[in-house]
Symmetry: C2
Subunit: 338 residues, 2 copies
């Protein structure tokens, strides 16, 4: 920070205004009700303006023992979804004088390494999504207040959790497709070890199994359009009756499925209904537009930050999952009579 001609400190301002450093701190900290005269206060403010004084945040943080900075650990920055989460969290943070630092896991979705080696700033708390246990223990060892996003609420970590109501979203998809008349399902699952994906599989199986005469097979792929395409292609050209509906864990997987269908000469939705989950920009960019479940990423981030603030203030975070919404578009239709 100090560089070349070093930055002015509160002591420089004091000298310029002819007062003590303490007076400067009082005035600029707005804590001078009956302690400093209006005239002196104005002199101090003037001197500060003159010198272009900006308080040294590092010193302030050290003195106050807090940084008003929290860390948001996201699986990957590349995802539109977590960009929304960040936006929401940062908005709430800003209204409370907090800043948000991002720690994207370097290796795509997967275990994060050491968030603290990268985040040089000292932290007041952490909001983490899809993190591995090892990184978590580092955090718990630091006694840092922690809020987990989209994680098992019954997990042994004892951290507060904020979750989207993914189970309800999957329910709605299943209901939608069953009502359309589909009975043979293929589940294109994200090949990622995370609670949020476990929920999808569990809920889907429960819903489909409840209806007699249904079949449900599963294919797996990491969240990559390319790989998803190959996985879907293989699954769709397997022997036996072809599924009429393809339920994807994620919009990107659905985009891969589109390409697979095109290569196999299957029309969407006539030959194959496809659903996604997320409602990314991608969902309306592809043809036909994708039936998917809209997740309110920004609200998710807001709720995460609110929960963390609650923890920091010793309150109990608001409970309750965040509702999601089925968005029906052109990629789903009744199965053709074949």
């Amino acid at each position: 920070m100090a560089r070349g001609s070093t930055r002015p400190t509160s002591r420089d301002v004091a000298q310029a205004a002819g007062v003590s450093q303490a007076a400067v701190s009082l005035v600029l900290g707005d804590k001078w009700r009956g302690r400093v005269s209006e005239a002196t206060a104005e002199r101090v403010r003037e001197a500060a303006r003159e010198l272009g004084y900006r308080p040294n945040l590092t010193a302030r943080n050290l003195r106050l023992g807090r940084t008003r900075t929290v860390l948001l650990v996201v699986p990957a920055l590349t995802t539109e979804f977590f960009a929304g989460v960040y936006t929401g969290a940062a908005r709430v943070a800003a209204t409370h004088g907090f800043g948000v630092v991002l720690y994207p896991s370097p290796e795509g979705i997967g275990p994060a390494r050491d968030p603290f080696a990268s985040a040089q700033a000292a932290l007041d708390g952490v909001i983490a999504s899809s993190m591995a246990a090892d990184a978590l223990t580092a955090i718990r060892g630091d006694q840092l207040p922690l809020v987990m996003l989209d994680s098992d609420p019954t997990g042994s970590l004892g951290a507060a959790t904020v979750n989207l109501d993914i189970a309800d979203g999957v329910r709605q998809i299943a209901e939608h497709l069953l009502t359309l008349g589909h009975r043979r399902f293929l589940h294109l699952a994200a090949d990622v070890a995370s609670w949020t994906f476990e929920v999808r599989a569990r809920e889907l199986h429960a819903r489909v199994a409840a209806v007699p005469g249904t079949t449900l097979t599963t294919a797996r792929a990491p969240i990559s359009i390319e790989v998803a395409q190959h996985a879907a292609e293989a699954a769709l050209s397997a022997p036996g009756p072809r599924p009429t509906a393809l339920i994807c864990d994620d919009d990107k997987l659905a985009a891969g499925a589109y390409k697979a269908a095109r290569r196999l000469g299957l029309r969407i939705p006539e030959d194959l209904s496809v659903t996604g989950l997320d409602d990314l920009a991608l969902a309306t960019a592809i043809d036909p537009e994708l039936t998917t479940v809209r997740l309110d990423a920004e609200l998710f981030g807001e709720r995460g930050m609110q929960a963390l603030l609650a923890v920091l203030e010793g309150r109990t975070p608001e409970a309750g999952d965040i509702p999601v919404e089925l968005v029906v578009r052109g990629s789903t239709a009744p199965p053709s009579a074949s």
Copy 2:
């Protein structure tokens, strides 16, 4: 940071090891060549491990007068492109013991407000892209070392710049389409005040104007698939001969153009060739896959961080634009003989 039972300090470690605080600092800072015996050093390390000691970064930063943290100001987090920039910058930063904090402009691509209100951490430097002058003056007032991404190198700011060779990319697109035989062009321009987009327009006009018998019209839209669709629809249904090639400033604009073409009953590439710029995941998710210019976002971020490190160390940043590459896919073809 200190919370509940306050975190152990170097003094606690010293007491546990039976040495002075200075000794702890020396040992843990790896500066004890001939100052402390191996046995004592090991006692200190053992005590630190025992107590779970973690140095207070705020105090260290204050003492050292630097934070090893830099700010990356990006237009919006939502963009895959800047996620790549961040990844590259963070990678280089990490190898030099630096951390990177993100400041996404809250209002999408456009003037950033006050990066420092949000970034609570003190900073050693800034890498900024597409920033407005007001935010810049705040930075310059702070005397913070600054590197600008994709900005006019002749700008009056005197900051170091790192640029992609966008002009060359546009040249390659123009060459490609002209070689295919196109003569009537529509430029779907990003409605954003930024140097990088000015370059596109300038270079495109220069290239096309150099060939006799060509026409080039321009439509504008903000970088949004929806709005781009409407702008493209209007421009393509204007009276007069229809353009045979649509050159978009950005892949997202191209995605909007696809939807416009679909609504107008135009086939791509038979009736209309379309090009983008960025090579996002989107580019291969749409049908037909998009001919575009690949920008190496991660390399861009790496070079930006390297330039900032150079500035911090008093060296002169490496010069030279980053090369880009035309990727020809299915969205361009010779104009149909009509």
